[in-house]
């Protein structure tokens, strides 16, 4: 009895010891800074002098800050790439799931942009979008279309970034769908076929509901990732683009914090971003709960 008690106590100690590093990391590098961010967002923190409490001052400033509105609009606008990417990826996965020859090679080719460095592909796409010599306009030339100078035009800079983002992320989404499709039992389709369902009907009534959890996962992770978009604009439009048309929220935070040293103001934006992501994730959990009822 005593030995058993001793064993359990030892297990308690070691169990806790083994999780101590990540727990400490969480406290020091995430939770403490997060609380500090929230606190900082209510002050006029400039990184040097005192932090004076100014209440909701930063947040009311955000409310009337035109550049912030632009950055927020741009960030949300860029998320139009999410439904485009999901549609294309699902079509690709459906195609690959039929066992056409070269499946492995296609999987690898479509996945290569995902593992490529975002900085390097940003540089490459920036050159591809060049108005005179870029690959994109040369391609459009084949069809007699003379393309714009993509990155220098406030109407085309966001679509250009969306195209690039879809290209970059397509392989990842495709892979998730492919894995999901492979876990759908063939017997459903056979039963549907017996009932006389056509291809579209079995897609709509079997495939689409079965991949719904993955669709959800993709939407949520894409919104979370998309709301933090930064590298592309920092490299491709270092000043925020024509009329600030390609600046994202994180780009603006970065500029305010490390360019202008308006740390309090930048913290307010960071808190705003954090709350946004929190709400998106919360909605996901809610919807997931509902969904499990549906399945039952």
């Amino acid at each position: 009895m005593n030995a058993k008690l001793g064993l359990y106590r030892k297990e308690k100690i070691y169990g806790f010891l083994f999780i101590l590093p990540p727990l400490l990391g969480l406290l020091i590098f995430t939770l403490y800074p997060m609380i500090y961010s929230i606190y900082g967002s209510f002050t006029d923190w400039d990184g040097l002098g005192q932090m004076n409490f100014i209440g909701l001052g930063n947040f009311t400033d955000l409310w009337s800050d035109e550049l912030f509105h632009k950055a927020l609009f741009n960030t949300l606008f860029m998320m139009l790439g999410i439904p485009i990417g999901i549609t294309l990826a699902l079509l690709l996965a459906l195609g690959l799931n039929r066992g056409v020859p070269g499946t492995t090679a296609f999987r690898v080719i479509y996945y290569v942009p995902v593992i490529s460095s975002l900085a390097a592909v940003s540089i490459m796409w920036n050159w591809a979008y060049n108005g005179d010599y870029g690959l994109v306009n040369q391609f459009l030339d084949l069809f007699g279309i003379s393309g714009p100078n993509w990155m220098a035009n406030k109407y085309t800079v966001k679509p250009a970034l969306i195209i690039m983002a879809v290209w970059k992320g397509l392989g990842y989404t495709m892979l998730l769908y492919l894995a999901a499709l492979q876990s759908v039992s063939r017997s459903y389709y056979e039963a549907a076929e017996l009932d006389g369902a056509n291809g579209f009907q079995s897609f709509w009534h079997i495939t689409w509901p079965m991949v719904r959890p993955v669709t959800f996962f993709i939407i949520v992770t894409n919104i979370i990732g998309g709301s933090q978009i930064f590298t592309e604009m920092n490299i491709m439009t270092p000043t925020g683009g024509p009329e600030y048309a390609s600046a994202s929220v994180v780009f603006y935070i970065w500029q305010k914090a490390f360019g202008n040293f308006q740390m309090g103001y930048a913290s307010a934006m960071a808190v705003f971003l954090g709350v946004f992501i929190f709400v998106v994730t919360l909605i996901q959990f809610r919807m997931n709960e509902k969904q499990s009822f549906d399945v039952d």
């Binding site: 297990e11 308690k12 100690i13 070691y14 169990g15 806790f16 083994f18 590093p21 990540p22 969480l26 590098f29 800074p33 997060m34 961010s37 900082g40 195609g95 039929r98 070269g102 296609f106 999987r107 479509y110 996945y111 290569v112 593992i115 460095s117 900085a119 390097a120 592909v121 540089i123 490459m124 796409w125 050159w127 591809a128 690959l135 040369q138 030339d141 290209w167 397509l170 392989g171 892979l175 998730l176 999901a180 876990s183 993955v214 992770t221 979370i224 930064f230 920092n234 270092p238 929220v249 994180v250 935070i253 914090a257 740390m263 930048a266 960071a270 808190v271 971003l273 992501i277 929190f278």
Partner: protein, 280 residues
């Protein structure tokens, strides 16, 4: 038309569509590669030249003198290797503990860790910057290394899931044999989860190698910068001089290591990504 020939036709159509898609996916990267071998004339040639005549390899020797490319690679390697090696150890140890050991508050702590995944990096980067600046770590690699040493929650989550398929009986039997807790981890659990660890380690390595936001915050002097910052600076400098072959050669250098790692380990990586999506 009978079933098999109809199947063959749809297969061919799908194959052609996938092929066209593949051209669009890989085309820009091939163009990047081809540009890196071009001379000035070919770069601006209309219609585009895909196969340079002749191939110029001199940009690949020139880039090493044009900027701190070598120190960029070295810095990226130092960060990525240190973080992934130490971080994988701490993460897998914690995953073992969360999955196989009993101690009070375990599930609550795990949930706390999971929920912290919701906190985006931009929301904590400003206070983190000041923490590290108080320590005098700005313009050193330490802010990019130290947090990672404490482990990676995504990895812990993934390995914990993976460990649930390892039967508890093995652990219990070893416990009764008087094996120490660390030995349970090092000689029983770890060998069993090696493939999962490897896949996660590679994904993490790639993430650090390709990271841009945190290095740009902490690193100023050219010789301290990571590879991604170095090539971004190449872009800023040489785009004005329109030396695109040079920029593209530098970008290829930044892509190549990850591309090779991916091609070697593509099976494990793809599996790991697929599992995390379906289970997540």
């Amino acid at each position: 038309m009978n079933m098999t020939s109809r199947r063959r036709v749809t297969h061919s159509i799908i194959f052609v569509l996938l092929l066209i898609g593949a051209v669009f996916m890989i085309g820009p990267l091939l163009w990047m590669l081809s540009t890196s071998f071009k001379d000035k004339q070919d770069v601006f040639a209309l219609p585009p030249v895909w196969i340079p005549r002749p191939f110029h390899f001199d940009k690949y020797s020139e880039i090493w003198e044009a900027g701190p490319l070598l120190s960029g690679i070295k810095n990226s390697l130092i960060i990525a290797v240190t973080v992934t090696v130490v971080g994988t150890f701490t993460s897998s140890l914690a995953a073992f503990s969360f999955s196989k050991l009993r101690f009070p508050g375990k599930n609550k702590i795990f949930l706390l860790m999971l929920s912290s995944l919701m906190i985006p990096y931009p929301a904590v980067m400003i206070p983190q910057f000041f923490m590290f600046s108080k320590l005098g770590w700005i313009d050193t690699l330490l802010p990019l290394i130290v947090p990672g040493l404490f482990g990676n929650i995504v990895m812990i989550f993934f390995l914990r899931q993976y460990l649930s398929s390892v039967p508890n009986a093995i652990i219990e039997a070893a416990k009764i044999d008087g094996s120490s807790y660390f030995r349970l981890y090092s000689s029983i659990t770890f060998p069993l989860i090696k493939p999962a660890v490897a896949a996660q380690l590679i994904l993490w390595f790639m993430g650090i190698w390709n990271d841009y936001l945190s290095p740009i915050i902490y690193l100023n002097s050219p010789e301290k910068q990571t590879l991604q910052l170095v090539i971004a600076n190449f872009n800023a400098t040489y785009a004005i001089q329109t030396d695109y072959p040079l920029i593209m050669a530098a970008s290829i250098i930044a892509l190549l290591p990850m591309l090779i790692i991916f091609l070697v380990f593509q099976k494990q990586i793809i599996e790991s990504v697929a599992i995390s999506g379906v289970k997540g």
